[in-house]
Each structure stands twice: as structure tokens, then as C-alpha cells.
Amino acid sequence: MGAIARSPFAHRLTGAGQTPQNENVVIRDLSTLPRIGFKGNGTTKWLSSKVSAVPDVPNKAIALSAGSLIARLGKEEYLVLPDPDAVGNVCSDLEASWNADDASGERRIGYPLPRADSHSWLHLEGRCIAQMMAKICGVDLRSDRLLQGEVVQTVVARISAVLIREMKDGPYGLHMLTDFASADYLWDVLQDASTEFGGGFSWEREDLK
């Protein structure tokens, strides 16, 4: 495939780039990275045979090897996010594995979901993330209420969102997956909510990386 994946935020990531002046609210776009979902009858059983472990209850995430994570969104629904810095690709491996099993006639193994195309992916990090999110989200996301690896499926500024508390040590981090088509709207909402904390989106121009 020759085409290059494009982030729905791409048209906003222009100019030389931007870095917030402090570490209160730093938002990074990870939308061009792979991600995949699985859903439907048999998903839990099939996925358990492919990865080291799956979360035992919905709305929990656990770390997989190589820094990737698997979040359980329902009884039979999962979302897999790779480590942004990792080399391997757990998502394409799982997809290939599913395709092979499907082709060999295995049934009740769930169905893959095109999460890289249905959802944009942002990573929010910093001291004031919970405070900033309290302006746009009705769920208490403070660090002592939303523990590492906990998942919240809710509404952010009137659009549906999947929020996953980062499991790595370090500052408070949140993965946020929302409707791919609402990215332009969300950008303005997040910039506006972050301004009072001196925060916002952070990016560098591609060719300067």
C-alpha cells in the first residue's frame, strides 16, 4: 500500500510546531499510529489465546509486552494500543493472526474493528489534565479516583470518548480516543480548555524531527 496514513488533526499541525510553556497540559496526536479493536462472540477466548493476558473485567486496561496495552471495553470488546515508541506492531500481528484463523474456518473468534480509522488518538499528559478535563467531561478523572489502567467510556464536550489512564510511571497521562470525524471540533475544544493552564497541543514539523 503506497498511501500514507493521515491524521484527522493533520491540517492543524502546521507551521514550525508548538510546545506548551509548561508541563501542565501537553496534548500529542498519536492518530497516525496503528490501533485495533476486537468485538463480538468469542473475542475474550480468542484474544486470551493470543496475548499474555486480557483484563478480567470491563473498563480496565493492562500492559502487554513491548509497552502496548489492551483495554477491555465490554464483556466481549477490546481495544489494543501499541507503545508509541515501540518498533514491533502488536496490532498488525493480531490482525494477521485473526485473518489466518478466520481463513482456516475458525468461528466464534470475534471480529476486528478498524479503530485506526474510526477513532482519533490523543495522549494528554501533565499536572493539570484532570482539572482541564473537568471543564469538558462529567466524570471525575483525578489521579486518586481514576487509577492507572482504568478505562472510562463517556462523553467529552458532547462527543463519545474512550479514556484510558496511562500505566507508565511519570506524570499523569490519559489516552483519549474519539470520533475520527470530530477531530477539528475537538481540537478547538481542547485548545480552549487548556489555555488557562498554559497548555495545549504539542507537535514538531515533520521535516524537523
Binding site: P8, S118, R142, A181
Partner: protein, 961 residues
């Protein structure tokens, strides 16, 4: 008067002087002053004019509870002058005045007051018909109303909202509230203590009270207590949802437990001219003295009905005010340390006397003196009188609990007629009351009660404590007078200052037959002004009880509803959260000159080019697609992946058509009816595999359809999985006679010949090296390919199709051209050409209903409905040209003077050179060639000829090429 010695007050900083203007005059105040306190320090007492009679009004409460102090700042109306701080250069104007609060031409209304009895508006202005709108409303609007808003100016400032979560929220940071917060926080609970004043402490800050405990200090240093001052809890909603106003932010708080320690609202006494500037609550005088270092007058008369009044009297003396007399409504026999101190100071105390009339300065600008009367055996003003000169009258005759929030929380108010006291009971289980609002009047009792309630709240949240403080006793007497109302034959004895209602107005309302309090309120408007009956509700209840011979408990008070106090629309609006969706090709459309249209919440190109050329551009887009090749972004089309062994059975139940035998690699039209048999959606089912359908749904319907599918399958439990992949797949519809030639340049792994890829077939492969789902459907009626690709690659697809088509003169077309071309083909748009009753039969789409199936949603209802067909049918119609009056969607189809139907779609077809449309018409007129009558918006009628709705290429030769 310029005071020689600097003012000393809890809230002010005498070293920081500020200059501001009121009604165009400049005044000097101190940092920490409110507008009202700074004006009072300058001996400027008139803050506003009353609503109806334009009487001068001044400080009544100093607690931002009454309409007297509402002023305008810039373009912000109805600001409380006794809450809003002054700042350098602040420009303040009085409201509801002609020139200024001091000189107001509207004061003539005062003389007319006897011609404006209660219910005046209702009685006077509604006859003859229309006179209200034409004559009276403009006159009254000019004289009444609060403030002037320039609606052409945008709201200044950043307004937003934020959620917040606490174990315990304590509303009111007086002694009880502070004690409650500390007790709750001691257990480990997270506590928010909030107060509307700039400092916590409540009455401790201004009243003659002293506590051994430093509650303010304790609360401030407590790790588990967050303190918000200048914060107003403006309502209580279910599950302890509290909107709190704080600056420009609306906090939406959720508390596990709420403690209302909202305290008391001091009540005025009713006597003639009780509204004059210079007549205020005792607590207002204390606030002026202690908080702002303002001497409230030079010579005062104190109206008393409780011992708090004696405290006020001593405060006045200490502030250097000459105390002419204390007029105590109670009979003799009240003793105590405060009274002893007063008698020692040789203050004259008249026991059993009332204030009968306040005498005004010229123009009613200020109180000049009072006439006192001895209370007779009937409890009314007797013959013995005494006149005293004074420029200040303070009233301390009783309180009502600040019951607004507790009542919103489900509390019920009862009145103990013997003790002259309200009690509140039965509020929501998550809500506790603490202190004086719950009937504790002694300071130590309030603190003790606060501690009990704070601990109870924490325990209710699950925190533990070994402490078990004792509940204080309740029977320590009431500071309330049973009826401090002394009507005057000449009136001006105001019950409601906001609405200028006098004792006789309430009396007359009852005489007119409005005996119930809620009716008295609606007829007289008592309690409907900005102070929402804070100072009028009890007095009104007292009067209604008196004139209807019932107890106050029987009369009750009117319902308390949110909000508690004024709030701005800007606060309620907050930030703008109106989500919209864009396709991945959005930027490319912009570059190509798209004019945008909102379809559902999607932004879609209507057409490309300048708006002034809209008609021509749309026609060109149509002609190019019909004769050559066009491309349209169809990413907004709903997309659902339906997978599983029961996928075909599931579609069979959801849709009217049959899908079990649909071969893999083929598509079939989808029509959905609801349980009533009404058409609600359509689309295309593409069979990707034996157990895998890719299903399209309408742009605006897909989210609802998806949710609906999940609901049905929660009951059917078929082995099927449904995924909404609308945003995941973006698409291009490539259409026109040259479409195949364009696609051939982009696609080498799908055989495209008509034999290999016929009409209605579904194929997968790559287009421009992007994995694609490709199917042939004919929505606009030309050879066409619907190409769906993952969203991340869709902008690349758009670019590639445009490049490949350049040699063929491809151009993008927008929604307008698409809608026009589908109309030329007679394809209905669900929601536009259908309504809440449309059946497939009315659309002539029975071909899409598989009646042989055992079940589909709507099947049973359609069987019933088809037994007696409706009188209407959707028909095509043609007109040679558009009439000058214009015809548009929703214009009526009329027959024999009745409505037979309406136009659902109408347009000039550039392809056919005539006006075509779809309309519901009488089924008897559905035959080709019948004439129907269309009624334009201006009432003119136009004949149209019924035609086949398949106006263009009825044999479908073009789309099946």
C-alpha cells in the same frame, strides 16, 4: 460628609483609595468596598427607584438579597450594589430611572399610585383587544423594567463551566457551616465550604457575637477543607447536583452529602413609608459598621422585637450614632445583659410600642423622622403617639430561615404559630441542615448543631469517627415577632419592595376572591420580583392568614424554585459545545471552493464555487456528471459491519427485503420500517461473505439505526455482531459515462468490464493502492462506482481520483447536484420525501417488501394498514416553468378546497429543462397525466401534471452500462 478619621472595617483597606462614578458623579471609596458601602460612606443613600411608583430606594439588607440595590455596570444589568466591589474607574448607573436615582421624572408615578390598584395590569390593559400591544406595553416598558441592555454588543469575558466532586459540600460559612465543615473534614472526608460573601464567618463578621473557638482559623488551615468565597450555590437538583456561581465560571458539583447552613433572612416591619432610604434591617446597619466602617446615620430609632436589636443598638452607639429611642414591639419584661447595658447608657426604651409611620424628606429622598404608637389591646397602633426626628431607622423584628435551597431539596416548610417560627423537614436523604436555618438561634447551639451535622454527613459518606456530640436543645425561644405589620390608612406600608405592593394590595387581592397564597401571588405578583419573596413571603402569609382566618401553617408559603438568585445567560451558556463532523477530504473541498452545508452534524460541500453563481454551478455539476464524469464525497454515508452466522437472518428481520439468498459479491437495496410500518431508513446491503454484510444507512439516521439494531438484538439474541464503522470508512462516488475509464487508471486488481463488474455488484481490491470496498449503485442514475476506503487514506483517494479524471474533465459535485440528480431519477430521500406515516406502498416501493418472510419489523402493522389504504400517494409531477410566486417543499397540494398532500421535493431540472417534483397527492390522482393543484406560499394556485417519478432515463439504461 467626609469623615475625618479613616474608616475601619473587616473588608476594607483604608490605605487603598479607589475612584468610581455613580450616575455620572465621581465618588471615592476604599479597596474592599461594595458599591453600596462606598456610596453610603459618601452619604449617598439612594441606589435605585422602585419598579412601579419610582420611589427612591436604598440599602435594606446589605446582603445582596433585595432589588433596592440593583444597578447597572456597563452593559451588565441588575448587579447587586451591596455585593459588587468597586474598582478604579468603575462606571455605575442606577436602573429604572429617568435621569438619575436622585432626580427621577418617573416619580410622578408615586402620585398616581392610588389609580394603580393590585391586579392593575390584568384589569386595565386587556380591553379593547390589541390595546396592550399597541398602546400600553410601549408606555409601561419605558417606565418599568430593570436596566437597559444593548443587544448589539457581544458579551465580554470568558464564561465557562467545570464539574467538581466532593464528599461533603457545606453551603454557608457561618458558625454552623464552619463547625459542620470542620467536623466532617476531621473524619477524612473531602469538604467544600462555600459562601456568597468575600469572607467566611457569617454573622460572626458583623453581628455582636463572639465564639471561644476560632472557627475561621480552624477551617482555613484544615487540609480536607476547600474554601470558596464569593461563591453562590444557586440551586439544588437531584442526587446533590449543585450549580455554583463563582466569577465567570459555573461549577457543576456533585456531592455525596450536602449541608445547608444557609442561616436566616432578617424581615422588615410594615408601616407607612417603610421603604424610605435610611430605613434598614438591623443586620444591614451592623454590616455597614463592622464590615465597611460606615456610620449608617447620625440619629437613629431602633425598632425591636428581639434581643438582637439591643445588640444592634449598642453597635450603633459605639459607631457614634445618636440613639433617639428603642421602640420594642414586645410588652415589658424583657431583660438581659444587653438591655441592662442600654439602660445604663440612658437609652430610652419604649416597650409595647410600634413604628406607625416614617416621615420623609421632600421627594421621599430619605427618612426624616418617625411617628411611634403604643400598641393597643388588639395588637394594632393605638392612640398614644410620639414623634421623633431621626435619619436612620433600624429594624430587628424577626427572621425567616433561608429556606430556598432546603425546599428545593424536597424539604417541607411548616409554621409553628405559637413560636412564630418556620421549621423545615423531609428534605432529600443526602441533605442535612445545620444551625439557624434549622431553628437554632443561640451561637453556641448553632456551632454544636453544625458539628453534629458535619459528623453525620461524613458518616453517611462512609467515614468513621468515635465522636458522638450531643444535639443542642431546640426550645430556647424564638426571635420572631408574630406579626410586625401596622397598616396605615394612607398606605405606602410596603409588603413587597420589588413590586411596590402595599398591605391593602394583598387585602384587596383576597377581597377579590384570591384566598389561596399561590393565587394571591399570581394576581398581585407578590414575591415575583428579583428578591423572590425573601422579605415578602412571610408578611404576605401573615396577611392572608389574618384576612382569611387561618393559621400561617395552613396558609403556607409559595413554592421555592431555582435559581436562588440572579444568574447570567452567559454563565448558563458557557463555552460553545456544538459538535460537528468533517470528512477526511474536508481541506481538499475547501481548496476546491466548496460552499458548506450542514447535513445532520456533518459539513458537506453544497457545490463548488462562488455563492452568487450557485444556480449555474449546480447545473454545471449536474451536466458534467450526466454527460461526462463527476465525483462526490460520500463519506458521511452511514456504514455498519454486520457479521456472524445469523447476519442474513438479522437483516431479514430488520429490513423489509430478503437477504438470505443474496449472493456474495452482490448488493441489495435496504428499506427499514418501524413497528408501526412507517418507513424510517434505507440503504444498501453489500454481501462481503456468507456471514458478513457491509450495510449503508442514511447520513443522519445511522447512529439511531445502529442503536436500534443493538436494542432489537438485545431481545433476539441472534449470533451477530454489529459495528458502526461510519467514520472509519470514507468514500467517493465516481459517476458518469466516463466513470469506468477513470477507475481503470486507478485499479488493476478488480476487473471492471460490465460483465465482470455489473450493476449492483460488490467487489474488493485496491484503488490508488488503497484497500477499497467498491460497489455499483445508481443513486444519481449514471454508471457509477461507490468506493469506500479507510478514513486515514481517503484524502489520498480523493486526490488520486481527481488526478485520474483530469484528462476526462472530471469535476467534483456537491450535495445540491446530487439531490437534484436523484430527484430526476425519482429516488426518495427518507425524511424528506417521507413523514411519520409513510408506508412503502405510498412510495410505490412494495417491490422492496418481502411479504413472504415470516417476520420483519413493521410487517404485522403493514398487513393491517394495507387492508385500508391511506388516501394519499407519493407522485411525480412536472410543470413547464417555475411560477413567479415560487413553489417549494411543504407547499400544499389542494383538492376541492381541502388539503390532499404536500410537495416533498421540487427543483428545476437542468437535464430535462422543466420543473420536476415529488408530492403527496390524492391517491385517485396518482394516474399519469392527472392534474393536481399546488398552492404556493402566497396562496396562488398552480396546476401540475402527474408524471412518472422516474423522470430521467426511466429504463435505467445509463446506470446499468
Amino acid at each position: 460628609m467626609k469623615s475625618a478619621t479613616p474608616r475601619k472595617g473587616l473588608l476594607i483597606d483604608a490605605s487603598r483609595k479607589l475612584k468610581f462614578t455613580f450616575d455620572g458623579r465621581e465618588y471615592e471609596g476604599l479597596s474592599g468596598d461594595t458599591i453600596a458601602s462606598a456610596l453610603a460612606a459618601n452619604r449617598e443613600w439612594i441606589l435605585s427607584r422602585s419598579f412601579k411608583y419610582h420611589r427612591p430606594r436604598g440599602i435594606l439588607t446589605m446582603a445582596a438579597q433585595d432589588a433596592n440595590t440593583l444597578v447597572q455596570i456597563g452593559n451588565e444589568v441588575s448587579v447587586f450594589a451591596d455585593r459588587h466591589p468597586i474598582s478604579d474607574g468603575l462606571t455605575v448607573r442606577a436602573q429604572n430611572v429617568g435621569k438619575s436615582a436622585r432626580r427621577d421624572s418617573g416619580f410622578v408615578m408615586n402620585r398616581l399610585s392610588r389609580f394603580m390598584p393590585v391586579g392593575f395590569y390584568y384589569r386595565t390593559f386587556y380591553k379593547p383587544k390589541g390595546i396592550w400591544e399597541k398602546v400600553w406595553e410601549p408606555i409601561i416598558r419605558a417606565k418599568a423594567g430593570l436596566g437597559k441592555l444593548d443587544v448589539t454588543k457581544p458579551t465580554e469575558g470568558y464564561y465557562d463551566k467545570a464539574y467538581g466532586w466532593y464528599d461533603v459540600v457545606v453551603v454557608g460559612a457561618g458558625p454552623a457551616g464552619m463547625a459542620a465543615a470542620i467536623a466532617a473534614a476531621d473524619t477524612g472526608a473531602s469538604v467544600l465550604l462555600l459562601d456568597e460573601n468575600p469572607r467566611i464567618g457569617g454573622a460572626l463578621n458583623y453581628a455582636r457575637l463572639a465564639s471561644e473557638r476560632d472557627l475561621v482559623g480552624e477551617a482555613k488551615v484544615h487540609d480536607n477543607i476547600e474554601i470558596w468565597t464569593d461563591a453562590i450555590c444557586n440551586a439544588w437538583y437531584a442526587d446533590n447536583w449543585l450549580p455554583v456561581l463563582r466569577g465567570n465560571r459555573l461549577h457543576k458539583l456533585r456531592a455525596k452529602q450536602v449541608i445547608f447552613a444557609t442561616g436566616l433572612i432578617e424581615q422588615p416591619s410594615q408601616f407607612r413609608n417603610n421603604d424610605l432610604p435610611g430605613i434598614m434591617q438591623g443586620s444591614a446597619a451592623q454590616r455597614l459598621i463592622r464590615l465597611f466602617g460606615v456610620k449608617p446615620g447620625n440619629r437613629a430609632v431602633m425598632l425591636a422585637a428581639n434581643d438582637d436589636a439591643y445588640g444592634v443598638a449598642l453597635d450603633l452607639l459605639e459607631a457614634g450614632v445618636d440613639l433617639a429611642a428603642i421602640c420594642d414591639l414586645r410588652k415589658a419584661g424583657h431583660h438581659g445583659p444587653l438591655r441592662s447595658e442600654l439602660t445604663q447608657r440612658k437609652v430610652s426604651i419604649l416597650d409595647g410600642w410600634c413604628l406607625y409611620e416614617a416621615r420623609p424628606e421632600k421627594g421621599d429622598l430619605h427618612v426624616r423622622g418617625v411617628e411611634l404608637a403604643e400598641i393597643d389591646a388588639e395588637g394594632t397602633a393605638g392612640r398614644r403617639r410620639r414623634k421623633i426626628d431621626c435619619d436612620l431607622v433600624c429594624m430587628s423584628v424577626g427572621y425567616v430561615p433561608a429556606y430556598q435551597l432546603p425546599l428545593q431539596a424536597g424539604g417541607k416548610l411548616a409554621y409553628d404559630d405559637a413560636a412564630a417560627q418556620f421549621t423545615i423537614d423531609g428534605q432529600d436523604k443526602g441533605v442535612l441542615l445545620a444551625g439557624s436555618v434549622d431553628g437554632f438561634f443561640d451561637l453556641d447551639d448553632c456551632i454544636a448543631h453544625g458539628a453534629v451535622q458535619g459528623l453525620a454527613a461524613a458518616i453517611n459518606c462512609g467515614y468513621k469517627s468515635k465522636r458522638r456530640p450531643a444535639l443542642p436543645a431546640r426550645d430556647r425561644g424564638s426571635p420572631n415577632h408574630p406579626c410586625p405589620i401596622f397598616p396605615h390608612p394612607k398606605g405606602m406600608d410596603f409588603v413587597d419592595f420589588d413590586e411596590d405592593l402595599q398591605v391593602k394590595d394583598i387585602k384587596n387581592a383576597i377581597a377579590d376572591g384570591y384566598r389561596e397564597l399561590e393565587l394571591v401571588k399570581r394576581f398581585s405578583t407578590v414575591g415575583m420580583g428579583p428578591s423572590q419573596g425573601r422579605h415578602a413571603a412571610l408578611a404576605t402569609a401573615m396577611l392572608v392568614s389574618k384576612y382569611t382566618n387561618r393559621t400561617i401553617n395552613e396558609v403556607g408559603v409559595t413554592t421555592a424554585r431555582p435559581p436562588v438568585t440572579t444568574e447570567k445567560i452567559a454563565t448558563l451558556a458557557g463555552r460553545k459545545f456544538t459538535p460537528f463532523r468533517q470528512t477526511p477530504m474536508h481541506e481538499q473541498h475547501t481548496a476546491q471552493g466548496a460552499v458548506w452545508l450542514l447535513a445532520g452534524n456533518w459539513l458537506r460541500p453544497a457545490y463548488y464555487g462562488h455563492e452568487r453563481d450557485a444556480k449555474r454551478l449546480i447545473a454545471e455539476e449536474v451536466v458534467n456528471a450526466r454527460n461526462n464524469v463527476g465525483m462526490i464525497d460520500v463519506s458521511t454515508l452511514g456504514g455498519l459491519d454486520v457479521r456472524g452466522p445469523d447476519a442474513a437472518e438479522f437483516l431479514n428481520r430488520m429490513y423489509t427485503f430478503a437477504y438470505v439468498k443474496l449472493p456474495v459479491g452482490k448488493t441489495r437495496y435496504l428499506l427499514m420500517t418501524n413497528e408501526a410500518g412507517t418507513v424510517i431508513d434505507d440503504g444498501v446491503a453489500c454481501r462481503r461473505g456468507e456471514n458478513y454484510f457491509y450495510v449503508t444507512a442514511t447520513t443522519t439516521g445511522v447512529d439511531r439505526i445502529y442503536r436500534n439494531m443493538l436494542w432489537w438484538n438485545a431481545q433476539w439474541r441472534l449470533d451477530v455482531d454489529i459495528a458502526n464503522v461510519t467514520a472509519a470508512y470514507a468514500g467517493v462516488n465516481l459517476a458518469g459515462p466516463n466513470a469506468r475509464k477513470v477507475l481503470e487508471k486507478l485499479c488493476d486488481d478488480i476487473a471492471l468490464s460490465p460483465q465482470d463488474f455489473p450493476y449492483l455488484a460488490y467487489r474488493e481490491g485496491t484503488v490508488a493502492s488503497i484497500p477499497a470496498r467498491v460497489f455499483r449503485v445508481g443513486f444519481i442514475g449514471e454508471l457509477g462506482y461507490e468506493i469506500h476506503v479507510p478514513s486515514r487514506f481517503a484524502s489520498e483517494l480523493w486526490r488520486a481520483v481527481g488526478d485520474a479524471g483530469r484528462a476526462f474533465g472530471i469535476r467534483p459535485f456537491g450535495l445540491e447536484a446530487q439531490r437534484l440528480m436523484r430527484l430526476e431519477k425519482g429516488h426518495v430521500i427518507i425524511g424528506q420525501d417521507t413523514d411519520g406515516m409513510t408506508t412503502p406502498e405510498e412510495l410505490d416501493m412494495s417491490w422492496a417488501v418481502a411479504n413472504s418472510k415470516p417476520f420483519f419489523i413493521g410487517k404485522r402493522s403493514l398487513e393491517i394498514r394495507n387492508k385500508t389504504l391511506s388516501s394519499r400517494k407519493l407522485v411525480g409531477f412536472v410543470l413547464d416553468r417555475m411560477p413567479a410566486a415560487g413553489l417549494q417543499e411543504s407547499n400544499l397540494v389542494v383538492k376541492n378546497g381541502s388539503i390532499a398532500g404536500f410537495i416533498t421535493s421540487i427543483a428545476f431540472s437542468p437535464t430535462l429543462g422543466r420543473v420536476i417534483g415529488l408530492a403527496y397527492a390524492d391517491r385517485l390522482d396518482a394516474n399519469l397525466g392527472s392534474r393536481i393543484v399546488l398552492r404556493a406560499s402566497d396562496g396562488s394556485k398552480h396546476h401540475a401534471q402527474v408524471a412518472s417519478p422516474h423522470f430521467y432515463d426511466p429504463e435505467n439504461l445509463r446506470q446499468e452500462m
